[in-house]
């Protein structure tokens, strides 16, 4: 964690720190005590008993799966609650001043000026109707205490996030910027008033590794330089471990474990923290990802005991009956009745390589000299690729590299390509409409976004049975039996048959999508970024399911991802794609451990790693 890495020459680090006096009497910039937020003033608690503190220049990582309440807490740090929620207890002290006791006018003056926010999705959080120059200046103009010329400050902060501050740039609308540029504008906006605290809500989700690396470096550097305390919300423990000195792990609205990052990541005590850590893929080693099966109970369904019980391997009857209280233990706070014993259970060695070598044989799919375009824009050129039988090939690349286009060409959704593709020795026609039914059945696809790839008006049973009817002509009576058995393969019970997609979590939806592909009994499965919309813990579950199902059914798989860390956990072969061309290809181990190209090496260097 060197701050010097990205510092601008001539700007001494200490200068900013001196600008602001000591934070409060304990030396904390931010102190949160016993925060409780309820749904409607008397409804069930969404989060409760939240306490943590951050020192100037430090970053606190707030981690947990989606639905754990981490964004709710993050927004409360700005005195804001989403519709329907309200703070029912606790205090949030910023430099000693309780934000929750402020009147609206005073709170407005604090927001943006002394505590600022970096959103998860800058493409939605920047106003599409306003130029970015206007939006940057507005942050300054809303707070009179900023001295000096706003124009100068805008140029200064844009320089700090390494964006060009030309008038042409400032006149752009958000949609004219790339995702990384948008996020840098949001960062510049957050730092522009020189706040005491900055709250970052998953700011790098959806960004490429190199862009993510740059954003992380910038955050670290600016926090150090200006003595800003930061709260970094993320579900990605690898990212947090690179940035945060302290970590608070949230589960079902409570902080289940909190303490120094080195301790938590080195020797986690809470079973949930252990589970999260076990689901983080490691780019260098193909270890088996375990994930955490099940999902957290929503507010109002959390029962009297520990909320983690249904997913906990160590749960006792006592855990069901009595809610644990936070106890200090081994340098941290843990919320678990069995915390004293869990530390020992963790010593087990990591399972060996998850991926086995495939048998040799003629390729299932071979792609030769394929070039594809969208209208006049060429997206792929001269792609050569082979998927051996029962093997998994990972296709890796940043957004815009053309990997999704290649998937669409292979499954026949994109027709504008030249070259040759053969599947099981026979030439593939360009469009799906021109391919014989057996070929359609043999090549199945799982799409990136499980929220849009399932028909919301059909039940899971109907969705999974459709390929049975269409491809395999299974009689109606047998369909539900087959559907149940394939749902079992993705660890979903028969009770899911009658559910609709919107009643499912993201991970469950993606498993339904996988079941829909598997039920057709394909020989090639094309998975396009299937885990990018999922939590790390859910990603681990889905990847494991996919790997196991592929092995059991002797499937060949093309696994498309931007996440290099995942590759070794699923694939035997890796192909790196850059701007529509293959940079390098070969056995996954070799490509990742000893990259032949600078590009792959740079990508590997940029992957966030768990530091413990």
């Amino acid at each position: 964690m060197s701050a010097a890495k990205g510092s601008i020459p001539g700007a001494p680090e200490a200068q900013g720190q001196q600008r602001r006096g000591p934070a409060d009497r304990h030396g904390f910039r931010l102190e949160v005590r016993d925060l409780e937020i309820r749904n409607r003033r008397d409804g069930p608690a969404v989060v409760s008993g939240i306490s943590f503190a951050v020192r100037p220049g430090d970053v606190l990582g707030l981690v947990g799966e989606s639905g754990s309440g981490k964004t709710t807490v993050a927004l409360a740090l700005l005195g804001h609650t989403r519709r329907g929620l309200s703070v029912s207890a606790g205090e949030i002290r910023l430099d000693g001043m309780d934000l929750l006791r402020l009147r609206p006018a005073a709170l407005r003056q604090v927001r943006g000026a002394r505590v600022s926010y970096v959103p998860q999705d800058p493409s939605a959080a920047l106003n599409p109707a306003l130029r970015i120059g206007y939006q940057l200046r507005e942050a300054l103009r809303s707070h009179a205490r900023i001295t000096g010329d706003p124009e100068t400050r805008v140029r200064e902060v844009l320089g700090e996030v390494r964006l060009d501050a030309s008038p042409g740039m400032l006149r752009r609308y958000p949609h004219q910027l790339s995702g990384g540029q948008q996020q840098r504008v949001a960062l510049a906006m957050a730092f522009s008033c020189r706040p005491s605290l900055i709250v970052l809500d998953e700011p790098t989700t959806g960004l490429d590794v190199s862009t993510q690396r740059h954003i992380l470096d910038t955050v670290r550097r600016l926090c150090r330089r200006y003595g800003v305390a930061a709260v970094y919300v993320s579900h990605d423990l690898a990212v947090v471990s690179e940035l945060a000195a302290e970590v608070a792990v949230m589960y079902a609205g409570r902080v289940v474990e909190a303490g120094p990052a080195a301790l938590l990541f080195g020797r986690p005590l809470h079973p949930y923290t252990q589970g999260l850590l076990a689901s983080v893929p490691v780019p260098e080693g193909g270890r088996r990802l375990t994930g955490i099966p099940g999902q957290q109970p929503p507010p109002g369904h959390r029962g009297p005991g520990c909320a983690f019980v249904p997913r906990c391997a160590l749960a006792l009857d006592e855990c069901r009956a009595r809610a644990p209280e936070p106890v200090p233990l081994a340098g941290r706070t843990v919320l678990c009745l069995r915390a004293a014993e869990t530390g020992t259970a963790r010593a087990e060695p990591r399972p060996a390589a998850a991926v086995t070598d495939p048998p040799a044989g003629a390729a299932v799919l071979s792609v030769r000299g394929v070039s594809a375009s969208y209208g006049p824009v060429r997206v792929l050129s001269g792609i050569d690729l082979e998927v051996p039988p029962q093997a998994c090939v990972a296709l890796v690349g940043e957004s815009g590299s053309g990997k999704t286009t290649l998937a669409r060409c292979i499954v026949g959704l994109h027709r504008d390509w030249t070259g040759e593709m053969t599947f099981q020795g026979a030439r593939l026609a360009r469009g799906a409409r021109h391919r014989p039914v057996p070929v359609l059945q043999q090549i199945q696809c799982v799409f990136q976004n499980p929220y849009t790839s399932l028909n919301p008006r059909k039940t899971v049973g109907q969705i999974v049975a459709e390929p049975l009817r269409r491809f395999l002509h299974v009689p109606r009576g047998e369909q539900s039996e087959r559907a149940v058995s394939v749902l079992g393969d993705v660890a979903l019970g028969p009770r899911y048959l009658s559910r609709y997609p919107d009643q499912l979590s993201g991970g469950e939806r993606q498993r339904v999508a996988i079941a829909r592909a598997l039920v057709a009994e394909p020989s090639l499965l094309v998975c396009d970024e299937v885990t990018s919309a999922l939590d790390v813990s859910v990603q681990a579950v889905v990847v494991e399911l996919l790997r196991a199902a592929a092995a059991r059914r002797h499937l060949a798989m093309l696994f498309i991802t931007h996440n290099l860390a995942l590759v070794r956990s699923v694939a035997q072969f890796a192909v790196v794609l850059r701007q529509g061309e293959i940079v390098e290809a070969g056995p996954a181990e070799q490509v990742l451990a000893d990259p032949g190209s600078d590009y792959t090496a740079q990508l590997m260097a940029d992957v966030p790693r768990l530091r413990s």
Binding site: A125, P128, E138, S142, S178, S210, G400, Q448
Partner: protein, 356 residues
């Protein structure tokens, strides 16, 4: 706001700039710059399509009036047609009825552009002289109503969105529903009862204009028709504004503006309203169209000498040249308004107006 929050990888793949650590802006795309400007592109396409539509309409109108049983000369002369074939022939010649259909159409169609619109069959007045005052009266009624109705609708809708689920919002919703359920002439009669007959006598019950005078000569006469039509159009504009404003107010960018400490009035006027404009403009445009042609009943109740009533009279009297002219004119207005609303909607949406 239906998009799931977890999904963050926008991906049609081509032409997205990864935006490397260097942080230079993506280079200008000369290809996009050479393409026609979206507004000009839209205007050109729509104008061409509009002209084509109008030609088709003119053919349809002409054909429809032609297939009416008997010819215009018969209709005008009535019983005398049978008794005096000479008179019939003279009239037929005057109306060019003795020529071929195509010839007749061309005479009429070219007349539209040269100003030779023919004469009313009923009183021999030039069509333009008959229609012009009515057109102007209707235009005044429409403009006054449209401006007041749009302003009131947007204001009420925006307020209802800001006070979402409060008493103001509920009253607005119920009133709007009740008013939309009432036919416009009922609203008109209700207003007449309230303001000019039974309850009070503040305003004239009918809006008869003396011949040769225009609506602005007697503004008092306009009050009730305008009020009726405002009551009719406000609910639509108000409801659309409310929905669009709620969507904007619930958006991430408004939340972001709040978290930036932007004052509330700026959030509403600068952040939310511009993003809610496009759908509201479309509804206002639709209401202008309604006001242009669909207000016959209201004009009838108040005996207001407008274009709607003029058209009804002409149809009753089989006054074919008048019918043809008014219908083509209304069609032209429809086409024009559609283009105008689309262009405005495009202008207020930078995402569509400016290429990536």
């Amino acid at each position: 706001m239906t998009e799931p929050r977890a999904v963050r990888r926008p991906e049609p793949e081509p032409a997205t700039e990864p935006g490397g650590p260097g942080g230079s802006p993506s280079p200008a795309r000369p290809r996009a710059a050479r393409d026609a400007h979206p507004v000009r592109h839209l205007l050109g396409r729509r104008a061409a399509a509009g002209l084509f539509t109008l030609c088709v309409v003119s053919v349809l109108v002409f054909a429809a009036t032609e297939v009416l049983p008997g010819n215009a000369a018969n209709a005008v002369l009535g019983r005398t047609a049978a008794s005096s074939p000479a008179a019939l022939h003279r009239l037929e010649a005057a109306l060019h009825l003795n020529r071929g259909l195509l010839d007749q159409y061309w005479l009429w169609f070219s007349g539209l552009f040269t100003g030779h619109l023919g004469h009313s069959l009923v009183n021999g007045q030039p069509v333009w002289g008959y229609a012009a005052p009515r057109l102007i009266n209707s235009a005044v009624l429409m403009a006054v109503t449209g401006v007041i109705g749009a302003a009131a609708g947007v204001a009420l809708g925006a307020l209802a969105a800001l006070r979402r689920d409060g008493w103001f919002d509920h009253i607005c919703a119920v009133t709007a529903l009740a008013v939309t359920a009432l036919p416009e002439f009922v609203v008109a009669i209700g207003l007449i009862i309230l303001f000019s007959t039974v309850v009070t006598h503040l305003l004239p019950a009918v809006s008869l204009l003396p011949p040769g005078s225009y609506a602005w000569n007697a503004p008092r006469l306009l009050i009730l028709p305008v009020a009726t039509l405002v009551v009719v159009i406000v609910p639509y504009i108000q409801r659309m504004t409310r929905a669009a404003m709620i969507e904007a107010l619930e958006s991430d960018y408004v939340e972001m503006a709040r978290l930036k400490g932007v004052p509330m009035w700026r959030i509403v006027l600068v952040h939310a309203l511009p993003n809610a404009t496009a759908p509201v403009i479309q509804v206002i445009g639709l209401n202008f169209l309604y006001l242009a042609g669909g207000v016959v009943l209201v004009e009838y109740v108040f005996a207001f000498p407008g274009i709607g009533q003029g058209l009804v009279d002409a149809v009753e009297n089989r006054d074919i040249p008048v019918i043809q002219f008014i219908v083509v004119l209304l069609a032209a207005f429809y086409v024009f308004m559609n283009i105008v609303t689309d262009v405005i909607a495009l202008l207020v949406t930078p995402r569509h107006r400016i290429p990536r």
